[in-house]
């Protein structure tokens, strides 16, 4: 539903077009093969987020490979950074949440997932790249699907299929007809909604944050170039706010990578939990 407010007259002859989700549809790198599918223009080719996702995988692999190649008793700078990064994820997300009995099996997945997401998110702020890979929802659905398969497989392996379903859908300490109400709700929340919220959280945070930055950059430029004389300083204020929000975005990028892996660890620990 759209509305038009004609009382506010435009300041200049050229009107301001606000950024939208369409700004995230980057054209492919290289040959431009488009085709029509369900009335939408689709690209068949390699796009920038695809290149970024491969670059991140290579960079994260290279970092941990280089950091762990020379395992000295007195660590060098690179080894120290690698051990610190690994230890952060292993202790704060693996050991503290999954529990000391079984967490080591999942640490490789959690560590690589955390740094993969973190680097992809930081690409939103890194100069010359400045595009968050996970503002494309397809990239995130893949990760969420992988996480969903892993925590369910871990639970089924430990409890058996029926036992695992019982663990996830029947809340402890509840008997009788209330179960008719609670079992479908728990099944939906634990088995269906979890991967969707996991994916949407990361995707929408990256999309909304980047959209906000585009809005401040373009709006500042519009006010400064096309605005009336009195409005021009506001453009500079908008650019200052752009810098401030960029720092907020760096915090959010880190926090979202942390939350994604934290929730993964929570789901794994919930799937492995003993019956009450």
């Amino acid at each position: 539903m759209s509305f038009t407010l004609s009382a506010v007259t435009p300041l200049a002859e050229e009107s301001f077009t606000p950024p939208g989700p369409g700004d995230f549809n980057l054209p492919p790198v290289g040959p431009d093969n488009t085709f029509q599918f369900l009335g939408e223009t689709m690209y068949a080719g390699v796009t920038k987020p695809m290149l970024q996702i491969v670059l991140t995988a290579a960079l994260v692999f290279w970092f941990f490979y280089a950091a762990s190649k020379k395992q000295a008793m007195v660590p060098g700078r690179l080894q120290y950074a690698g051990e610190g990064a690994y230890g952060f994820v292993r202790n704060s997300m693996g050991r503290d949440i999954i529990g000391s009995a079984e967490f080591m099996r999942f640490v490789p997945y959690l560590v690589s997932l955390f740094f993969f997401i973190l680097l992809n998110n930081l690409f939103a702020t890194l100069p010359f790249i400045q595009f968050p890979t996970f503002s494309r929802s397809g990239m995130v659905y893949g990760l969420a699907l992988l996480s969903w398969v892993i925590y369910n497989a871990a639970g089924i392996k430990k409890h058996g299929f029926i036992g695992y379903l019982k663990l996830q859908t029947v809340p402890a300490g509840i008997r009788g007809p209330l179960l008719i109400l609670l079992v479908p709700l728990e099944a939906m929340s634990n088995l269906l909604v979890r991967p969707v919220t996991l994916a949407l959280r990361l995707f929408a945070n990256m999309l909304a944050g980047h959209l906000l930055l585009i809005l401040f950059a373009l709006g500042g430029e519009y006010l400064l170039v096309h605005g009336a004389a009195l409005v021009k300083p506001v453009g500079i204020v908008a650019w200052l706010l752009f810098v401030a929000i960029s720092f907020l975005e760096i915090l959010i990028q880190f926090l979202q990578a942390y939350v994604f892996v934290l929730l993964n660890a929570m789901y794994i620990s919930g799937a492995l939990a003993d019956e009450h």
Partner: protein
């Protein structure tokens, strides 16, 4: 001025998670002020609660774009 009423609806919908996240971090700060050594445990719980409350706002923004 052109715009989309969905965004106003989303602004209203975001009030709830906003209040919720505020309450979560208020409780976290209270807890750490009373018992500073519990910070490590409380931080994980606070960030988890923040993520769950934020999910509502995220579902809202997704629907605001979709509807």
């Amino acid at each position: 001025m052109e715009g989309n009423l969905n965004m106003i609806g989303y602004g209203l919908a975001a009030v709830g998670p906003g209040v919720g996240i505020g309450l979560i971090f208020a409780a976290y700060i209270n807890g750490v002020a009373r018992q500073p050594e519990a910070q490590g445990r409380l931080q994980t719980i606070a960030i988890l609660g923040f993520a769950l409350a934020e999910a509502l706002a995220i579902i809202g923004i997704a629907l605001a774009f979709v509807l």
